[in-house]
């Protein structure tokens, strides 16, 4: 696509956008005399943490607003006297009366509810303000850290990604698989942001645990559809994780000692009310026992992971706040000096919140993100070393303009620089060395976005936005020109063109419209619809059931087109009371089309391959489904039921005779039950149950005998033609909080958990092989020669896994 039509496109879209703003807002064109703006921050009273998505409700006008991710809000109202209610779930509602004559700043600090068990009186306003019905956003699930903490953990590790997998529309290929799949998308289609910086591998221990330390996390939001224009770069979802700022009222220490790991965090004010910090760390420690083992092999074993999260903020004045946050996590495995394998993410984010005026809020972010892995093998005269990295530097200014009480405009842009090192190997064989470095790949991903959140009438709200994204794969590098060939076999390299530094190897432009609309049927029921187009320019090359830490990210090029995702969704949202209890219900359907989905020729070699692009294929993807969600948020018993009926398919020339086939993460039925019961002040019980259809697999019909080996063969050339048995699992947990000494700050609790209670052997996969030799063979059986075949069911966790954790704060 040439740059000129794109530019014309952008201007015509902008024009259209501004026309919309003014058509629906005749008053915005006029001067806003007689109006004034009240703005400020909403924070927690105990720790000074900004409250994300807190509601501000104007009683007299029956209207309201919500705070942004920094806790800032702005409301423009006709001059007059008002009663404002500040509302946030789990906090006591605060009522303030104001006489609004001119622009004013009004900050609020909300007190936490003393105890969840004390039933909260459900007020009209509380329901009134609730986002699920009132905002145009759909396909959004928020999990607060308290909820996450109460989900029965595996081996005592409270886990954000594992919790996400209990939400509608979210699945995983199986236990221990890293990442998660959203609405039929692959794991690389999720944009995971930790304080705005992307995280490329969200897993510790190959996929069993996620890299986020729950003690440092404040808010987790998953957006599956209707993704706002300020986010882009992945086509399936956005997982927005916000770190705590750190208690700015008092020093607080927290920790937990579990079977697998221990964690410790410290937070507190540096300068009271001005500046605070948080430092949180976590490390597994079963390896600390290795050196005292009598077994020589165990003695040499290295196996641990750790992560460190740190953040400081400084409030210069009411208008300027600076945040600096960092994350550093690493997994290490090995045997003495003979063998080592490690990987990890590191991110640093610097953000500056500046308030230009009561109506214009800005945040400027600069971040650095890095993911790398290394593999080392060493013996006397032989060694193997392998390294790969992906590095990002980015600058992202973003503005929110609270134009009037009907329009909130968000606009900004981003420059993102990538440096991929696909692989560097050093091989030493018998004292001689060979170094191979696959050339670095460089790219820029630039974007501009604008979006308006508009209240058209009391019942109708719309959000419409546009994102323009531009991707430049630049030199120095090599451009591969490939010959067309029969789909499914490796393409021939015709030419290798040298591209000089900063010259464009391949460039792409995309306009990504985003639109969503809400129609309120009643005060607590609404219908919503949304459409969004997303473009994705970087791709994770992974051809295994579960993604491996060694999988390599690669940029779009002349041979790899950007992935484009279009999604439409319709939803029904309702909040209601039943038997004095408050419920939230939603039903959403979606249909998603995905272009340029990467697949691989059979036997593709994705690692350390100079011409990996010749082994890729491209196809279409589609996914559709229905998601039902019923949640009880308050009271002694809380929890949710989520049911998803869905399909995820691909069509690729060269696979499955070019017919549609289910993806490896396609699961038809997904039922998740999550419950928590607070018996009394000391005991709390949690349980969750999961039932989902088995993932598909390819089963062989015939055998080819070759040189004594028996090769499985499907005579119809089908892909994913069978289903594995269904997956189901029950986990339970109990938390005991001893009575706290009123005079002491020390509080503690014990969590006991049992994962996979009834010992279900859920199949991760079914594999086919020739019979393996016997453990204690007779002399005749010392060689593998059997041509007998067998099917093997592989289960990752076939037993109940108990856990106990001791948590404390003071």
């Amino acid at each position: 696509m040439s740059i000129i039509p794109i530019r014309t496109g952008i201007f015509s879209c902008l024009f259209f956008f501004l026309t919309l703003v003014f058509i629906f807002n005749p008053e915005s064109a006029r001067s806003q005399t007689g109006k004034a703006t009240v703005s400020g921050y909403i924070k927690g009273a105990e720790d000074g943490e900004a409250l994300i998505g807190a509601g501000i409700y104007v009683e007299e006008l029956k209207t309201g607003a919500t705070s942004n991710v920094y806790g800032f809000y702005s409301l423009t109202l006709p001059q007059g006297k008002y009663t404002l209610k500040f509302i946030f779930l789990g906090y006591q509602t605060q009522i303030k009366t104001i006489d609004l004559k001119e622009n004013m700043v009004l900050n609020a600090e909300l007190e936490e509810e003393v105890r969840q068990t004390k039933e909260v009186v459900i007020t009209g306003e509380q329901t009134e303000i609730e986002a699920n019905v009132k905002t145009t956003q759909m396909g959004v699930n928020k999990l607060d850290i308290k909820t996450i903490n109460r989900i029965p953990p595996l081996l005592g590790e409270v886990d954000i990604i594992r919790s996400i997998q209990l939400l509608p529309g979210v699945t995983t290929v199986g236990e221990g698989a890293s990442g998660f799949n959203v609405r039929g998308g692959s794991i690389d289609q999720n944009l995971i942001l930790l304080d705005e910086a992307p995280v490329y591998n969200s897993s510790h221990l190959f996929g069993f645990f996620s890299v986020f330390n729950p003690d440092a996390v404040k808010d987790v939001k998953l957006v599956k559809g209707g993704i706002p224009a300020q986010y882009g770069g992945r086509i399936s979802s956005l997982l927005d994780i916000r770190m705590k700022e750190g208690n700015n009222k008092r020093l607080e220490l927290k920790g937990g000692i579990g079977l697998l790991s221990s964690r410790f965090s410290v937070e507190g004010p540096i300068k009271k009310e001005k500046s605070s910090f948080i430092l949180a760390g976590r490390r597994t420690y079963f390896d600390l026992a290795f050196p005292i083992s009598s077994d020589e092999q165990i003695k040499k074993t290295v196996a641990y992971f750790y992560d460190l999260t740190a953040k400081v903020n400084y409030k210069f004045d009411e208008k300027n706040t600076l945040f600096l946050s960092g994350y550093f996590g690493r997994d290490k495995f090995g045997f003495g000096s003979a063998f080592g394998f490690e990987w990890g993410n590191a991110t640093t984010t610097l953000r500056w919140n500046h308030i230009f005026g009561p109506k214009l809020f800005s945040n400027i972010t600069a971040f650095y993100s890095n993911y790398d892995y290394q593999l080392n093998i060493e013996s006397n005269d032989d060694a193997f070393n392998w390294r790969s990295t992906i590095e990002n530097l980015s600058f992202k200014p973003e503005f929110t303009w609270y134009l009037n009480d009907k329009n909130t405009i968000t606009f900004g842009g981003q420059i993102l620089h990538y440096d991929f090192l696909p692989g560097k190997t050093t091989i030493i064989s018998d004292g001689e060395t060979r170094v191979n470095r696959l050339a670095d790949k460089f790219a820029f991903e630039n974007s501009l976005f604008i979006s308006n959140d508009q209240q058209i009438s009391r019942r109708i709200g719309i959000t419409y936005g546009l994102r323009y994204s531009n991707f430049l794969n630049v030199g120095a590098g090599t451009k591969l020109i490939l010959a067309d060939t029969t789909p499914g076999i490796k393409k021939r390299v015709i030419e290798k063109q040298r591209i000089e530094t900063n010259k464009v190897l391949a460039g792409f432009n995309n306009l990504e419209p985003r639109f969503s609309i809400k129609y309120e049927l009643t005060e607590n029921t609404s219908l919503k619809a949304s459409y969004n187009r997303m473009a994705q320019y970087i791709h994770l090359l992974s051809n295994t059931q579960a993604s491996v830490p060694l999988d390599v990210w690669t940029p779009s090029s002349n041979n790899i087109m950007p992935q484009i995702g279009d999604q439409i969704a319709l939803g029904y949202f309702r909040n209601f009371s039943f038997g004095g209890q408050e419920f939230e219900f939603s039903a959403e359907t979606f249909y998603k089309e995905m272009q340029n989905q990467i697949d691989y020729i059979d036997g593709a070699d994705l690692l350390l391959n100079q011409t990996v692009e010749a082994e890729l294929m491209s196809g279409f993807g589609r996914a559709y489904g229905l998601e039902l969600f019923l949640k009880k948020r308050k009271g002694k018993f809380t929890g949710w039921i989520s049911y998803t009926l869905a399909r995820s398919e691909r069509q690729v020339a060269g696979i499955n005779n070019r017919d549609w086939y289910p993806t490896r993460f396609d699961k038809t039925h997904n039922l998740y039950l999550v419950g928590n019961y607070e018996l009394n002040e000391r005991w709390n019980f949690g349980a969750n149950f999961i039932f989902s259809s088995g993932v598909p697999g390819t089963f062989p019909t015939n055998r080819i005998e070759y040189q004594g080996f028996v090769i499985p063969h499907n005579s119809d050339g089908l892909r994913n033609n069978y289903r594995l048995p269904a997956y189901h699992r029950l986990d339970i947990s109990a938390t005991y909080e001893p009575r706290a000494n009123e005079n002491r700050k020390w509080k503690s609790s014990w969590t006991f958990g049992l994962y996979n209670v009834y010992s279900r052997r859920n199949p991760f996969g079914i594999y086919f092989r020739q019979e393996v030799p016997k453990e204690n063979p007779t002399p005749a059986e010392r060689v593998d020669q059997s041509s007998n075949t067998e099917a093997i069911r592989f289960s990752v966790l076939g037993i109940p896994v108990p856990a106990v954790t001791y948590n404390f704060t003071f």
Binding site: F335, S379, T701, N702, G708, G765, V772, V783, G798
Partner: protein, 293 residues
């Protein structure tokens, strides 16, 4: 599955340490698909009379009735460069096996064509004779117990790769006269350019995991005899074997999608869809033997 043997080792360590995973043999019945001709032809030059095997595929789990022998085919091997023709005749005493009437000969770079006439179709495949990689020596070593191997006697294969990328090999061996197929170590016995990635260790001594590919995790016993064959094979044949390796060892958390292994036999008449499975490869061999002391 992890294709790189280094990583394979890494994941085994991990699996042993952390996972309480379990494997059960189960019975499934995916049904039997259509029976097709399969060509099992690995022909070595300058190595006596050669044999190949033709079968019809049977059901994957049909252990009681392995492949049906094809006895009525006509088989011809032609050195396209020299137009030297080698006939293969069926051996009634060994159904499905065809033996050459004389030793196969050819030079590096010669292209060989295999022609199989069966039920009105002529199927053909081509393979190029690679330059030789030779075994320098085999050496024995006493090794302590480590990384899952028992303490005892082990044998290593020394060979040096020729400079220049694309040298593919397959290391096979016999223990006391019987070939040990070692399904799960195939990845180590299929080196390219002395290691596992094209060009990565070009011109070097075979790297350690390749040298070690003629061992299991059990010690050899005094008196055992080992016969090692280092085949220099066509890159296309190597690709076939690598795909076979993936499918034979496709298990665990990081399994690849199960897929058919692509062969190199096709119908001489492109209009006809009937092909053949399996692969034809022309190769050379370098041999060495050792008796465990």
């Amino acid at each position: 599955m992890i294709r790189n043997p280094f990583l394979y080792a890494a994941f085994c360590v991990f699996a042993g340490l952390f996972l309480v995973s379990c494997e059960d043999a189960i019975t499934i019945d995916p049904g039997k698909g259509k029976s097709e001709l399969a060509v099992d032809a690995m022909i070595t030059v300058d190595d006596g009379l050669q044999e190949l095997r033709l079968t019809l595929t049977s059901g994957y789990f049909d252990n009681a009735n392995p492949a049906t022998a094809v006895t009525e085919a006509r088989v011809l091997l032609i050195n396209i460069n020299t137009l030297d023709t080698f006939q293969f005749l069926h051996r009634p005493e060994k159904p499905g096996y065809y033996r050459s009437s004389r030793q196969i000969s050819g030079n590096t770079g010669n292209i060989f064509g295999l022609f199989v006439e069966y039920r009105g179709d002529t199927l053909n495949g081509f393979s190029r004779l690679s330059r030789p990689t030779k075994i320098d020596s085999l050496y024995q070593e006493e090794r302590p117990a480590e990384f899952g191997n028992e303490a005892g006697k082990y044998v290593y294969l020394l060979a040096r790769d020729s400079a220049g990328a694309g040298d593919c090999c397959w290391i096979r061996y016999t223990l006391n006269g019987k070939e040990n197929l070692q399904y799960n170590r195939l990845n180590q016995s299929l080196p390219i350019d002395a290691s596992f990635n094209p060009g990565a260790a070009d011109g070097l001594e075979f790297i350690y995991p390749v040298r070690n590919s003629i061992n299991t995790n059990k010690s050899y016993l005094v008196g055992d005899t080992l016969g090692v064959m280092l085949y220099s094979i066509d890159p296309e044949h190597w690709r076939f074997l690598k795909e076979m390796d993936i499918q034979l060892n496709n298990q665990g958390l990081f399994a690849n999608p199960q897929a058919n292994v692509r062969g190199n036999m096709s119908n001489l008449n492109p209009a006809k869809k009937t092909g053949a499975l399996g692969c034809f490869g022309i190769c050379r061999v370098s041999k060495a033997g050792v008796r465990i002391k």
